[in-house]
Amino acid sequence: MSSNTSTSTNATATPSAALKEWPLWEVFVRSKQGLEHKHCGSLHASDAQHALQMARDVYTRRQEGVSIWVVQSASIAASQPDDKAEFFEPSGDKVYRHPTFYEIPDAVGHM
């Protein structure tokens, strides 16, 4: 599932519906000690504690995690897909940032 951040300001919802709903949270789960927390989905909950309990029941019913983060979807700032070109392109022409840019004599062996 993907981040619902795009719709946290929901254009089609009526204001009254938006007020009635529990806020939306994004859930990140660390699958085992030593790995990073990874986004796994979203859910509605009334507050952070509630969101953690819901996340446990919805996303870790089979011991999929050892740690959970939840964050309100509205608090996530995201880059714009429309700006993808300008935003990410500057690194496209900097091939010298990759090790393969450099020719090293075979005699050197692995470097």
Binding site: M1, N4, A17, G41, S42, R62
Partner: protein, 347 residues
């Protein structure tokens, strides 16, 4: 479990939808140059078997199709808890009861994954629930049939979940990222559902003649309903081609149905039951099974609200929602009070 494997049009659209649905109008508004460029970019991505993510531009019809399909799928998971929930308090042993609770909880979880996938398309949870509760939105018709005895619970796992898995595996490759990811999660959990059902039936088939007869009776009642779950024949599915073009649907209704029949026949043999179709036989030339005619009139009658349990299911769902209202409100009030308190403590 349980996708409605095809897209049934929901009830009349609300005014907001029909007002903004420019692309779907009989006389579409002319596209601007920018829209044409975006459409071309979208088509190119679909042709390259790429993925579409929530914030990407997409044609309005693609968005609407996905909202309808994913929300119907979510509703099916939620309503699907009812026929089986019926048997939790009457499961034959503590072991079977624990298994059934876990399965029903999974269905609830699958509904939640899917609702949040649909929400990424800009429709709210409340809107979707309202569609379900007012009877405007459809859910899989398979749940409008009753679960008469314990063997039904086993048969639902084996055949209904089996049919759902057949349909859901290709959805893991759906072009819309959030739906595909939700389906991967669902499919991982689904295998347990089918296996527990089949195993429960294996146990019953080692029992008394009466117990064996219960299994056969349940298979007789569910078999044809399960074949209908894959949706109308390809020739009568005008929307399928568009779904295929968009990479939402990957395998046609008839092809999925055939796969299901071919996979199920040997399982029935091991179990020791007969599938209730005199026309069911191996076709050496096709290297597939032939099977008989599905009663589509009965199917559509159920889809359109006249099945044996339509009213009961929707009634139970609406009652649960209404009865839970004070809980939802109390949770919000509690959250607000806690937030106030921490502000006061900080001051």
């Amino acid at each position: 479990m349980y996708t409605q494997s095809f897209n049934v049009p929901d009830g009349p659209e609300n005014q907001a939808e029909s007002a903004k649905g420019s692309v779907l109008k009989a006389v579409p508004q002319p596209l601007t140059a920018a829209q044409v460029a975006l459409q071309a970019q979208f088509d190119q991505r679909i042709d390259a078997d790429g993925k579409v993510e929530p914030r990407d531009w997409m044609p309005e019809a693609y968005r609407k199709t996905l909202v309808r399909q994913i929300s119907q799928h979510a509703h099916s998971e939620i309503v699907g808890m009812l026929p089986e929930g019926n048997w939790i308090s009457r499961a034959p042993s503590l072991k079977r009861k624990a298994i059934l609770i876990a399965k029903v909880q999974d269905e609830g979880g699958h509904g939640l994954y899917l609702y949040s996938a649909a929400e990424t398309l800009g429709t709210s949870r409340d809107q979707m629930l309202e569609g379900l509760h007012t009877g405007k939105a459809k859910y899989s018709s398979i749940f409008n049939y009753p679960t008469l005895n314990w063997a039904d619970v086993g048969v639902i796992g084996w055949l209904v979940d089996g049919a759902a898995i057949m349909n859901q595996i290709p959805l893991c490759r759906c072009s819309y990222g959030p739906y595909a990811r939700a389906m991967i999660r669902v499919c991982k959990e689904e295998s347990f559902h089918q296996r527990q059902g089949y195993e429960a039936l294996l146990v019953m088939m080692q029992g008394t003649a009466e117990q064996k007869a219960m299994v056969q009776d349940a298979v007789n009642r569910w078999w044809w309903k399960c074949l209908a779950m894959f949706g109308p024949p390809d020739a009568d599915s005008p929307n399928s081609a568009q779904g295929m073009r968009w990479g939402i649907k990957r395998i046609s209704n008839d092809d999925l149905r055939q796969k299901f029949v071919d996979a199920t026949v040997p399982q029935a043999k091991v179990l020791g039951v007969t599938l209730p179709d005199p026309d069911l036989k191996w076709n050496e030339a096709r290297q597939q099974h032939d099977y008989g005619q599905i009663d589509w009139d009965e199917f559509w009658s159920t889809v359109n609200g006249n099945g044996p349990c339509n009213k009961e299911r929707l009634g139970a769902r609406v009652k649960a929602w209404n009865d839970g209202q004070w809980v939802r409100e109390a949770a919000m009030a509690h959250a607000q009070k806690q937030a106030q308190r921490s502000i006061q403590e900080a001051a």
